[in-house]
């Protein structure tokens, strides 16, 4: 158990509505990430954070924004949800070790946009 809690775990929303997914960690790790996972695409990075108020874009950031006001919380917001954002969203955390950056994942948030 990596000490990561995602909420909500499941959500159905309508096209055009804003949606916020929350990630809470109890490990005090510096780095936090939001990935989405889709069939045929694998895990793709949306946004990541390397500290409080320090965030950057990943490879599929269009239509998403993030905020990190505390070490333990990382929020992902879909400003105006579209059907293409129907996906499973995973929060992840990491801290630097030896030479690498082992990432630990949460249990996922299933989002359906109708």
């Amino acid at each position: 158990d990596a000490g990561i809690t995602q909420s909500p775990r499941h959500k159905v929303t309508e096209t055009g509505t804003p949606v916020t997914l929350r990630c809470h960690q109890t490990e005090n790790h510096r780095y936090m990430y939001w990935y989405r996972q889709d069939p045929g695409h694998g895990l793709r990075l949306i946004h990541y954070s390397y500290g409080v108020k320090d965030t950057d874009k990943g490879e599929v950031s269009d239509g998403y924004s993030v905020s990190r006001s505390k070490t333990e919380d990382f929020l992902l917001t879909l400003e105006s949800a579209t059907s293409s954002q129907t996906s499973v969203y995973f929060c992840a955390i990491s801290d630097r070790d030896r030479a690498g950056n082992t990432i630990y994942f949460g249990e996922g948030s299933w989002l359906t946009v109708v």
Binding site: Y33, L43, F90, G100, N101, T102, Y104, F105
Partner: protein, 111 residues
């Protein structure tokens, strides 16, 4: 551009039938290569990190190896509980934080 390719996409095994999964990668330089296990409806679970060619890691029936261009995950005498999707990821030298993931290999072990 960093690329990670896993093969095969799916693997069906009889209980006790050993096999290997392949992860081939193209990166400018490798900080680390990671293997994860993912069960349906769950998040990926960390298995191994490999840092340099020739390195090997083992955990129960799983053994991961690394060369300069690919990694193998060997499953020895698998059991039905080894059924899962196995993901490979690389951490390139070109960035500090981000991993690039392969699409995964789904392993089904029949009793």
């Amino acid at each position: 551009e960093d690329q990670v390719t896993q093969s095969p996409e799916a693997l069906r095994l009889q209980e006790g039938e050993s096999s290997s999964l392949n992860c081939s990668y193209t990166v400018s330089g490798l900080r680390g290569l990671f293997w994860y296990r993912q069960d349906p409806g769950k998040g990926p679970e960390f298995l191994f990190t490999l840092y340099s060619a020739g390195e090997e890691k083992e955990k129960e029936r799983l053994k991961a190896t690394l060369t300069k261009k690919e990694s193998f995950l060997h499953i020895t005498a698998p059991k039905p509980e080894d059924s899962a999707t196995y993901l490979c990821a690389v951490h390139p030298i070109s960035n500090d934080y981000k991993l690039s993931f392969g699409a995964g290999t789904t392993v089904t072990v029949r009793a």
